[in-house]
Protein backbone atom coordinates (compact mmCIF):
# COMPACT_ATOMS: atom_id res chain seq x y z
CA UNK A 1 0.00 0.00 0.00
CA UNK A 2 1.26 3.45 -0.84
CA UNK A 3 1.33 6.01 1.91
CA UNK A 4 -1.03 8.23 -0.08
CA UNK A 5 -3.50 5.36 -0.21
CA UNK A 6 -3.23 4.91 3.52
CA UNK A 7 -3.88 8.62 4.00
CA UNK A 8 -7.00 8.34 1.83
CA UNK A 9 -8.09 5.46 4.02
CA UNK A 10 -7.47 7.29 7.29
CA UNK A 11 -9.20 10.43 5.99
CA UNK A 12 -12.40 8.47 5.47
CA UNK A 13 -12.28 7.42 9.13
CA UNK A 14 -11.95 11.04 10.29
CA UNK A 15 -14.79 11.51 12.79
CA UNK A 16 -13.90 10.71 16.36
CA UNK A 17 -16.58 8.96 18.39
CA UNK A 18 -14.86 8.73 21.76
CA UNK A 19 -12.49 11.19 23.40
CA UNK A 20 -10.15 10.28 26.20
CA UNK A 21 -11.42 13.06 28.51
CA UNK A 22 -15.04 11.93 28.15
CA UNK A 23 -14.09 8.29 28.61
CA UNK A 24 -12.12 9.08 31.75
CA UNK A 25 -14.92 11.15 33.28
CA UNK A 26 -17.34 8.34 32.54
CA UNK A 27 -14.88 5.78 33.90
CA UNK A 28 -14.37 7.69 37.16
CA UNK A 29 -18.12 8.11 37.60
CA UNK A 30 -18.72 4.41 37.00
CA UNK A 31 -15.85 3.50 39.32
CA UNK A 32 -17.27 5.62 42.17
CA UNK A 33 -20.83 4.40 41.68
CA UNK A 34 -20.05 0.71 41.33
CA UNK A 35 -17.53 0.60 44.16
CA UNK A 36 -19.95 2.53 46.37
CA UNK A 37 -22.81 0.16 45.56
CA UNK A 38 -20.66 -2.89 46.16
CA UNK A 39 -19.43 -1.47 49.44
CA UNK A 40 -22.94 -0.59 50.59
CA UNK A 41 -24.30 -4.00 49.69
CA UNK A 42 -21.45 -6.21 50.92
CA UNK A 43 -19.67 -4.34 53.71
CA UNK A 44 -21.38 -1.19 54.89
CA UNK A 45 -20.22 1.56 57.25
CA UNK A 46 -19.36 0.74 60.85
CA UNK A 47 -22.32 0.70 63.26
CA UNK A 48 -20.93 3.45 65.47
CA UNK A 49 -20.36 5.85 62.59
CA UNK A 50 -22.07 8.74 64.41
CA UNK A 51 -19.74 8.49 67.39
CA UNK A 52 -16.71 7.90 65.18
CA UNK A 53 -17.34 11.18 63.37
CA UNK A 54 -16.29 12.93 66.55
CA UNK A 55 -12.90 11.22 66.49
CA UNK A 56 -9.98 13.02 64.87
CA UNK A 57 -8.28 9.71 64.19
CA UNK A 58 -11.31 8.42 62.29
CA UNK A 59 -11.63 11.60 60.24
CA UNK A 60 -7.92 11.75 59.48
CA UNK A 61 -8.13 8.40 57.69
CA UNK A 62 -10.17 10.17 55.04
CA UNK A 63 -7.70 13.01 54.75
CA UNK A 64 -5.07 10.42 53.80
CA UNK A 65 -7.21 8.30 51.47
CA UNK A 66 -8.76 11.30 49.75
CA UNK A 67 -5.30 12.83 49.27
CA UNK A 68 -4.32 9.59 47.54
CA UNK A 69 -7.46 9.52 45.40
CA UNK A 70 -7.18 13.15 44.31
CA UNK A 71 -3.44 13.13 43.58
CA UNK A 72 -3.69 9.88 41.62
CA UNK A 73 -6.85 11.15 39.91
CA UNK A 74 -5.04 14.23 38.60
CA UNK A 75 -2.37 11.97 37.10
CA UNK A 76 -4.94 9.60 35.59
CA UNK A 77 -6.31 12.50 33.59
CA UNK A 78 -2.84 13.40 32.28
CA UNK A 79 -0.97 10.17 31.82
CA UNK A 80 -2.82 9.07 28.68
CA UNK A 81 -1.99 12.31 26.88
CA UNK A 82 1.35 12.44 25.04
CA UNK A 83 3.21 15.69 25.48
CA UNK A 84 1.50 16.63 28.75
CA UNK A 85 4.08 16.94 31.56
CA UNK A 86 3.68 14.59 34.53
CA UNK A 87 6.58 15.35 36.81
CA UNK A 88 5.08 18.12 38.93
CA UNK A 89 1.68 16.45 39.54
CA UNK A 90 3.50 13.18 40.26
CA UNK A 91 5.10 14.76 43.33
CA UNK A 92 1.62 15.16 44.83
CA UNK A 93 1.44 11.38 45.09
CA UNK A 94 3.72 11.73 48.09
CA UNK A 95 1.13 13.82 49.94
CA UNK A 96 -0.86 10.88 51.40
CA UNK A 97 2.36 9.24 52.54
CA UNK A 98 3.65 12.42 54.15
CA UNK A 99 0.30 12.94 55.88
CA UNK A 100 0.23 9.36 57.17
CA UNK A 101 3.81 9.50 58.43
CA UNK A 102 3.19 12.81 60.19
CA UNK A 103 0.04 11.45 61.82
CA UNK A 104 1.88 8.29 62.89
CA UNK A 105 4.61 10.38 64.52
CA UNK A 106 1.96 12.38 66.37
CA UNK A 107 0.38 9.12 67.48
CA UNK A 108 3.71 7.88 68.83
CA UNK A 109 3.92 11.05 70.93
CA UNK A 110 0.32 10.87 72.10
CA UNK A 111 0.18 7.21 73.07
CA UNK A 112 2.35 5.38 75.64
CA UNK A 113 4.87 3.06 74.03
CA UNK A 114 3.39 -0.13 75.45
CA UNK A 115 0.22 0.53 73.42
CA UNK A 116 2.05 1.08 70.10
CA UNK A 117 2.12 -2.58 69.09
CA UNK A 118 -1.56 -3.21 69.68
CA UNK A 119 -2.56 -0.06 67.79
CA UNK A 120 -0.33 -0.89 64.87
CA UNK A 121 -1.47 -4.50 64.51
CA UNK A 122 -5.11 -3.60 65.14
CA UNK A 123 -7.98 -6.04 64.83
CA UNK A 124 -8.84 -5.91 61.15
CA UNK A 125 -5.52 -6.31 59.36
CA UNK A 126 -6.52 -9.27 57.20
CA UNK A 127 -9.86 -7.62 56.49
CA UNK A 128 -8.03 -4.50 55.37
CA UNK A 129 -5.69 -6.50 53.13
CA UNK A 130 -8.56 -8.29 51.39
CA UNK A 131 -11.31 -5.66 51.27
CA UNK A 132 -9.28 -2.82 49.77
CA UNK A 133 -8.01 -4.95 46.85
CA UNK A 134 -11.44 -6.51 46.29
CA UNK A 135 -13.15 -3.12 46.28
CA UNK A 136 -10.49 -1.87 43.83
CA UNK A 137 -11.13 -4.42 41.12
CA UNK A 138 -14.14 -2.76 39.50
CA UNK A 139 -12.76 0.81 39.66
CA UNK A 140 -9.46 -0.41 38.22
CA UNK A 141 -11.27 -2.12 35.35
CA UNK A 142 -13.29 1.04 34.63
CA UNK A 143 -10.15 3.18 34.53
CA UNK A 144 -8.10 0.79 32.44
CA UNK A 145 -10.95 0.63 29.96
CA UNK A 146 -11.03 4.42 29.71
CA UNK A 147 -7.24 4.68 29.44
CA UNK A 148 -7.32 2.49 26.35
CA UNK A 149 -8.43 5.66 24.54
CA UNK A 150 -5.19 7.27 25.66
CA UNK A 151 -1.61 6.82 24.50
CA UNK A 152 0.53 6.50 27.62
CA UNK A 153 4.27 6.59 27.02
CA UNK A 154 4.72 3.87 29.65
CA UNK A 155 1.67 1.61 29.68
CA UNK A 156 2.73 -0.13 32.90
CA UNK A 157 3.10 3.16 34.71
CA UNK A 158 -0.32 4.30 33.51
CA UNK A 159 -1.81 1.05 34.83
CA UNK A 160 -0.06 1.56 38.17
CA UNK A 161 -1.46 5.09 38.46
CA UNK A 162 -4.92 3.72 37.69
CA UNK A 163 -4.28 1.17 40.46
CA UNK A 164 -3.39 3.95 42.91
CA UNK A 165 -6.55 5.82 42.04
CA UNK A 166 -8.72 2.70 42.31
CA UNK A 167 -7.19 1.78 45.65
CA UNK A 168 -7.74 5.36 46.85
CA UNK A 169 -11.46 4.96 46.18
CA UNK A 170 -11.45 1.52 47.81
CA UNK A 171 -9.46 2.69 50.85
CA UNK A 172 -11.80 5.66 51.37
CA UNK A 173 -14.82 3.35 51.40
CA UNK A 174 -13.11 0.75 53.53
CA UNK A 175 -11.97 3.36 56.08
CA UNK A 176 -15.62 4.09 56.88
CA UNK A 177 -16.22 0.47 57.87
CA UNK A 178 -12.95 -0.31 59.68
CA UNK A 179 -12.78 0.29 63.44
CA UNK A 180 -8.98 0.56 63.51
CA UNK A 181 -8.38 4.29 63.41
CA UNK A 182 -4.82 4.63 64.64
CA UNK A 183 -2.43 6.24 62.13
CA UNK A 184 -0.02 3.43 63.06
CA UNK A 185 -2.50 0.91 61.66
CA UNK A 186 -3.07 3.07 58.58
CA UNK A 187 0.64 3.43 57.89
CA UNK A 188 1.31 -0.30 58.23
CA UNK A 189 -1.60 -2.01 56.46
CA UNK A 190 -3.12 0.42 53.98
CA UNK A 191 0.09 0.79 51.94
CA UNK A 192 0.35 -3.01 51.66
CA UNK A 193 -3.18 -3.28 50.28
CA UNK A 194 -2.58 -0.30 47.98
CA UNK A 195 0.71 -1.76 46.76
CA UNK A 196 -1.06 -4.99 45.79
CA UNK A 197 -3.56 -3.08 43.67
CA UNK A 198 -0.84 -0.89 42.17
CA UNK A 199 1.20 -3.90 41.08
CA UNK A 200 -1.94 -5.48 39.60
CA UNK A 201 -2.58 -2.23 37.74
CA UNK A 202 0.99 -2.13 36.49
CA UNK A 203 0.79 -5.69 35.14
CA UNK A 204 -2.62 -5.10 33.56
CA UNK A 205 -1.48 -1.79 32.08
CA UNK A 206 1.50 -3.39 30.40
CA UNK A 207 -0.82 -5.78 28.63
CA UNK A 208 -3.89 -3.64 28.00
CA UNK A 209 -2.51 -0.17 27.38
CA UNK A 210 0.10 -1.00 24.73
CA UNK A 211 -0.38 0.93 21.52
Amino acid sequence: MKTDDLIALLAQDAPLTARLGDRLRLGVLAALLLAGLLFGAAIGVRPDLGAAMASDRFLFKFVVTIALTVSAGILVFRIGRPGVPLRVPAWWLLSPLVLAVAAALAELLAVPSDAWGARMIGENASHCLTMIPLLSIVPLACLLHALRYGAPERPGLAGAVAGLFASGIAATLYASSCTDDSPLFILLWYPMAIALVTVAGWLAGRRLLQW
Binding site: L16, G21, P82, G83
Partner: protein, 188 residues
Protein backbone atom coordinates in the same frame (compact mmCIF):
# COMPACT_ATOMS: atom_id res chain seq x y z
CA UNK B 1 11.36 30.30 6.92
CA UNK B 2 10.43 32.89 9.52
CA UNK B 3 8.71 32.44 12.81
CA UNK B 4 5.34 33.60 11.56
CA UNK B 5 4.99 30.92 8.94
CA UNK B 6 5.77 28.32 11.53
CA UNK B 7 3.18 29.64 13.97
CA UNK B 8 0.68 29.97 11.17
CA UNK B 9 1.26 26.43 10.07
CA UNK B 10 0.89 25.19 13.60
CA UNK B 11 -2.45 26.96 13.88
CA UNK B 12 -3.48 25.57 10.54
CA UNK B 13 -2.71 22.00 11.72
CA UNK B 14 -4.69 22.59 14.92
CA UNK B 15 -7.62 23.83 12.86
CA UNK B 16 -7.48 20.91 10.46
CA UNK B 17 -7.32 18.38 13.26
CA UNK B 18 -10.25 19.95 15.09
CA UNK B 19 -12.30 19.87 11.89
CA UNK B 20 -11.19 16.29 11.25
CA UNK B 21 -12.29 15.09 14.66
CA UNK B 22 -15.65 16.70 14.02
CA UNK B 23 -15.90 14.62 10.83
CA UNK B 24 -14.34 16.74 8.07
CA UNK B 25 -12.65 14.17 5.81
CA UNK B 26 -11.05 16.76 3.56
CA UNK B 27 -9.47 18.71 6.42
CA UNK B 28 -8.09 15.46 7.77
CA UNK B 29 -6.70 14.51 4.36
CA UNK B 30 -5.00 17.89 4.12
CA UNK B 31 -3.56 17.54 7.59
CA UNK B 32 -2.17 14.04 7.06
CA UNK B 33 -0.77 15.02 3.66
CA UNK B 34 0.99 18.02 5.21
CA UNK B 35 2.31 15.99 8.12
CA UNK B 36 3.63 13.01 6.17
CA UNK B 37 6.73 14.62 4.56
CA UNK B 38 7.91 15.60 8.04
CA UNK B 39 7.38 12.07 9.31
CA UNK B 40 9.30 10.80 6.31
CA UNK B 41 12.25 13.06 7.04
CA UNK B 42 12.35 11.88 10.65
CA UNK B 43 11.97 8.21 9.72
CA UNK B 44 14.63 8.30 7.00
CA UNK B 45 17.10 10.05 9.23
CA UNK B 46 16.68 7.41 11.95
CA UNK B 47 16.73 4.48 9.55
CA UNK B 48 19.92 5.60 7.85
CA UNK B 49 21.46 6.27 11.24
CA UNK B 50 20.70 2.66 12.17
CA UNK B 51 21.77 1.20 8.85
CA UNK B 52 18.22 0.16 7.96
CA UNK B 53 17.28 0.34 4.25
CA UNK B 54 15.39 3.51 3.22
CA UNK B 55 12.42 1.35 2.21
CA UNK B 56 11.95 0.56 5.89
CA UNK B 57 11.40 4.25 6.51
CA UNK B 58 8.14 4.24 4.55
CA UNK B 59 6.83 1.39 6.71
CA UNK B 60 7.74 3.43 9.74
CA UNK B 61 5.89 6.44 8.31
CA UNK B 62 2.78 4.34 7.74
CA UNK B 63 2.87 2.85 11.20
CA UNK B 64 3.29 6.27 12.78
CA UNK B 65 0.37 7.59 10.72
CA UNK B 66 -1.78 4.71 11.95
CA UNK B 67 -0.77 5.41 15.55
CA UNK B 68 -1.62 9.10 15.21
CA UNK B 69 -4.95 8.13 13.71
CA UNK B 70 -5.91 5.49 16.25
CA UNK B 71 -4.76 7.56 19.20
CA UNK B 72 -6.17 10.95 18.19
CA UNK B 73 -8.70 10.47 20.99
CA UNK B 74 -5.84 11.27 23.37
CA UNK B 75 -5.32 14.79 22.01
CA UNK B 76 -6.94 17.45 24.13
CA UNK B 77 -8.25 20.07 21.64
CA UNK B 78 -7.76 22.69 24.34
CA UNK B 79 -3.99 22.15 24.00
CA UNK B 80 -1.78 22.80 20.95
CA UNK B 81 -1.40 19.86 18.58
CA UNK B 82 2.36 20.05 17.95
CA UNK B 83 3.60 18.80 21.37
CA UNK B 84 1.11 15.94 21.18
CA UNK B 85 2.25 14.92 17.70
CA UNK B 86 5.91 15.21 18.66
CA UNK B 87 5.46 12.95 21.68
CA UNK B 88 3.42 10.37 19.74
CA UNK B 89 5.96 10.29 16.90
CA UNK B 90 8.90 10.00 19.28
CA UNK B 91 7.33 7.23 21.38
CA UNK B 92 6.16 5.28 18.35
CA UNK B 93 9.53 5.63 16.64
CA UNK B 94 11.40 4.29 19.65
CA UNK B 95 8.86 1.47 19.90
CA UNK B 96 9.07 0.54 16.20
CA UNK B 97 12.85 0.58 16.09
CA UNK B 98 13.06 -1.44 19.29
CA UNK B 99 10.91 -4.12 17.66
CA UNK B 100 13.42 -4.17 14.82
CA UNK B 101 16.06 -4.88 17.42
CA UNK B 102 17.52 -1.38 17.43
CA UNK B 103 17.72 0.51 20.65
CA UNK B 104 17.82 4.18 20.03
CA UNK B 105 17.32 7.34 21.94
CA UNK B 106 15.22 9.80 19.97
CA UNK B 107 15.40 13.24 21.57
CA UNK B 108 12.03 14.93 21.55
CA UNK B 109 13.67 18.17 20.41
CA UNK B 110 14.78 16.49 17.17
CA UNK B 111 11.23 15.51 16.35
CA UNK B 112 9.97 18.98 17.19
CA UNK B 113 12.66 20.53 15.00
CA UNK B 114 11.74 18.42 11.98
CA UNK B 115 8.03 19.09 12.44
CA UNK B 116 8.85 22.79 12.42
CA UNK B 117 11.06 22.58 9.36
CA UNK B 118 9.94 22.50 5.75
CA UNK B 119 9.37 18.86 4.89
CA UNK B 120 9.84 17.92 1.27
CA UNK B 121 10.76 14.23 1.24
CA UNK B 122 8.86 12.37 -1.47
CA UNK B 123 7.20 9.04 -1.11
CA UNK B 124 8.71 5.76 -2.06
CA UNK B 125 6.06 3.18 -2.78
CA UNK B 126 5.69 0.19 -0.61
CA UNK B 127 4.13 -2.72 -2.39
CA UNK B 128 4.91 -5.63 -0.13
CA UNK B 129 2.41 -4.32 2.39
CA UNK B 130 -0.20 -5.83 0.06
CA UNK B 131 0.23 -9.12 1.84
CA UNK B 132 -0.75 -7.42 5.06
CA UNK B 133 -3.97 -6.32 3.38
CA UNK B 134 -4.60 -9.88 2.31
CA UNK B 135 -4.75 -10.86 5.96
CA UNK B 136 -7.88 -8.77 6.44
CA UNK B 137 -11.16 -10.63 6.16
CA UNK B 138 -14.13 -9.49 4.11
CA UNK B 139 -15.78 -7.03 3.97
CA UNK B 140 -12.84 -5.17 5.53
CA UNK B 141 -10.47 -6.01 2.70
CA UNK B 142 -12.94 -4.91 0.02
CA UNK B 143 -13.66 -1.70 1.87
CA UNK B 144 -9.98 -0.92 2.39
CA UNK B 145 -9.22 -1.67 -1.25
CA UNK B 146 -12.13 0.37 -2.51
CA UNK B 147 -11.30 3.46 -0.45
CA UNK B 148 -7.52 3.37 -0.60
CA UNK B 149 -6.76 2.10 -4.10
CA UNK B 150 -9.86 3.19 -5.99
CA UNK B 151 -10.34 6.34 -3.95
CA UNK B 152 -14.06 6.02 -3.29
CA UNK B 153 -15.77 7.65 -0.33
CA UNK B 154 -17.48 5.81 2.50
CA UNK B 155 -20.87 6.66 0.99
CA UNK B 156 -19.96 5.28 -2.44
CA UNK B 157 -18.45 2.19 -0.89
CA UNK B 158 -21.57 1.62 1.18
CA UNK B 159 -23.78 1.91 -1.90
CA UNK B 160 -21.58 -0.42 -3.90
CA UNK B 161 -21.42 -3.09 -1.19
CA UNK B 162 -25.08 -2.62 -0.26
CA UNK B 163 -24.08 -1.87 3.32
CA UNK B 164 -25.10 1.02 5.55
CA UNK B 165 -22.64 3.89 5.91
CA UNK B 166 -22.37 3.18 9.62
CA UNK B 167 -21.45 -0.44 8.95
CA UNK B 168 -18.77 0.64 6.46
CA UNK B 169 -17.38 3.13 8.98
CA UNK B 170 -17.25 0.54 11.74
CA UNK B 171 -15.65 -1.96 9.40
CA UNK B 172 -13.09 0.57 8.20
CA UNK B 173 -12.17 1.51 11.74
CA UNK B 174 -11.72 -2.15 12.69
CA UNK B 175 -9.58 -2.69 9.61
CA UNK B 176 -7.30 0.19 10.61
CA UNK B 177 -6.93 -1.26 14.09
CA UNK B 178 -6.07 -4.63 12.55
CA UNK B 179 -3.50 -3.00 10.28
CA UNK B 180 -1.79 -1.45 13.28
CA UNK B 181 -1.75 -4.86 14.98
CA UNK B 182 -0.33 -6.54 11.87
CA UNK B 183 2.44 -3.97 11.70
CA UNK B 184 3.26 -4.63 15.31
CA UNK B 185 3.36 -8.42 14.88
CA UNK B 186 5.28 -8.24 11.59
CA UNK B 187 8.36 -6.99 13.34
CA UNK B 188 7.79 -8.42 16.77
Amino acid sequence: MGLMTNVEREEEWDRWMRAAIAGDNRAYHRFLTALTPHLRTIARRRCSQLGLPPSEAEDVVQEVLLAIHLKRSSWDPARPLRPWISAIVRNKLVDILRRRGRHIDVPLEDVVAVLESEGRADSTDRIDVEHILSRLGDPQRTIVHSISIEGTSVRETAARLKMTEVAVRVSLHRALKSLATFYRSENA
